[in-house]
């Protein structure tokens, strides 16, 4: 019996030590990983705010399942990265950026990935006419969906509404 306790204690000590070592390495590498992630995202962010500084915000988005990340373009506004399920199913979601100015105007819209959507129909969410229908409008204005690509475009506007709701809750 005494032997059992020694063994269990030994295993626990080893596990504890390894946990400590891991959290140390994690605390060193995590900022670098985050920074690299932002750096690769920046290429897209500068399309909307060409000369802004970007910060990845740590906010609670658990109420808004489509929001993946929130970036602050310091002094200008906020950029949301959203991922919504369109016509291509959950395995190939539509991923896009939607930017909101400090006064609640949609400043920019960039689709990063809509490879799961039918080309010629759902893929229209990445094209200029749909983008023009969003940029410049204010929170609360309705965004028109695309005929023939209702599911894809409705999924996108749904995500935009969630981003707007999050914006109103946190940055107003």
């Amino acid at each position: 019996m005494k032997k059992m306790i020694t063994l269990a204690l030994f295993l626990a000590v080893v596990a504890g030590l390894s946990g400590a070592a891991l959290s140390l390495v994690y605390s060193v590498t995590d900022p670098i990983i985050q920074e690299a992630a932002i750096a690769s995202e920046k290429e897209n962010l500068v399309k909307i705010y060409p000369s802004a500084e970007f910060k990845l915000l740590e906010t609670d988005t658990s109420e808004f399942p489509t929001i993946q990340n929130v970036y602050e373009a310091v002094g200008s506004g906020y950029v949301y990265k959203c991922s919504v399920v369109g016509y291509g199913g959950a395995s190939t979601p539509i991923v896009y950026l939607i930017a909101l100015d400090n006064d609640g105007t949609y400043k920019g819209f960039e689709v990063l990935d809509c490879s799961g959507e039918t080309s010629g129909f759902g893929s229209k969410v990445a094209e200029q006419p749909f983008k023009d229908g969003i940029v410049g409008k204010n929170i609360g204005d309705s965004v028109d969906t695309i005929t023939g690509a209702t599911i894809s475009s409705a999924a996108v506007t749904n995500g935009i509404e969630e981003a707007s709701a999050h914006y109103e809750q946190n940055f107003k």
Binding site: A15, G19, L22, S23, V25, Y26, G89
Partner: protein, 190 residues
């Protein structure tokens, strides 16, 4: 419907053994007798299905809320090791014959890439609990089918006239290669 296509996709089209090389070691080691191969398949199926459920629950309900997801690897491997230990004790009591015939390959299920691989893949594919269970089942059924087929082919190879330098492992690997080719033929199915 989505679950069915997930199942078929993981069992045949993206069979983990032949397309991701998980579990190549037991494939070459155990599969000399079809019967042993089947027993191995059953044991692995049990471990993988339970492991994918347990790791899913631990990851999403313990590691994520506590923000210690960097402990995933240690947690998973300990879960798998204890499951294998359980299977070993169970087999030793209920059927000593199977236990004996599987020999050293039974404890080696711990280091079977398929078990840990499925657990990690389930997390990165963001499956829910049901999908994770189905994925675990599909992978292990795929593994069992391949290891059984492979064992029957190898039994034939034993009596075939193989060039001397290809005898044993080399011809077995080339057989696996041809099986992988055959599977690649149905790649567009799902």
């Amino acid at each position: 419907m989505e679950l069915v296509s997930l199942f078929i996709g993981l069992t045949f089209v993206n069979n983990v053994v032949l397309s991701k090389f998980y579990a190549v070691c037991p494939l070459l080691g155990v599969s000399k007798k079809p019967k042993n191969a089947l027993n191995m398949g059953y044991a692995v199926t049990f471990v993988i299905v339970i492991a994918s459920i347990v790791t899913h629950i631990l990851y999403h309900f313990v590691l994520v809320p506590l923000e210690i997801t960097y402990l995933d690897l240690i947690t998973f491997i300990l879960v798998i090791a204890s499951l294998v230990q359980f299977v070993e004790m169970f087999l030793k009591k209920t059927s000593p014959e199977i236990y004996k015939s599987m020999g050293v390959y039974l404890p080696l299920i711990t280091t079977n890439c398929a078990v840990l691989g499925v657990a990690l893949d389930n997390i990165s594919a963001n499956y829910n609990l049901i999908e994770a269970t189905v994925a675990g089942l599909a992978v292990s059924v795929g593994f069992t089918i391949v290891i059984y087929l492979f064992a029957t082919i190898r039994e034939r190879l034993e009596i075939a006239n193989v060039p001397e330098s290809f005898k044993g492992t080399p011809i077995a690997l080339i057989t696996a290669g041809i099986m992988a080719c055959a599977l690649a033929g149905i790649a567009g199915l799902v």
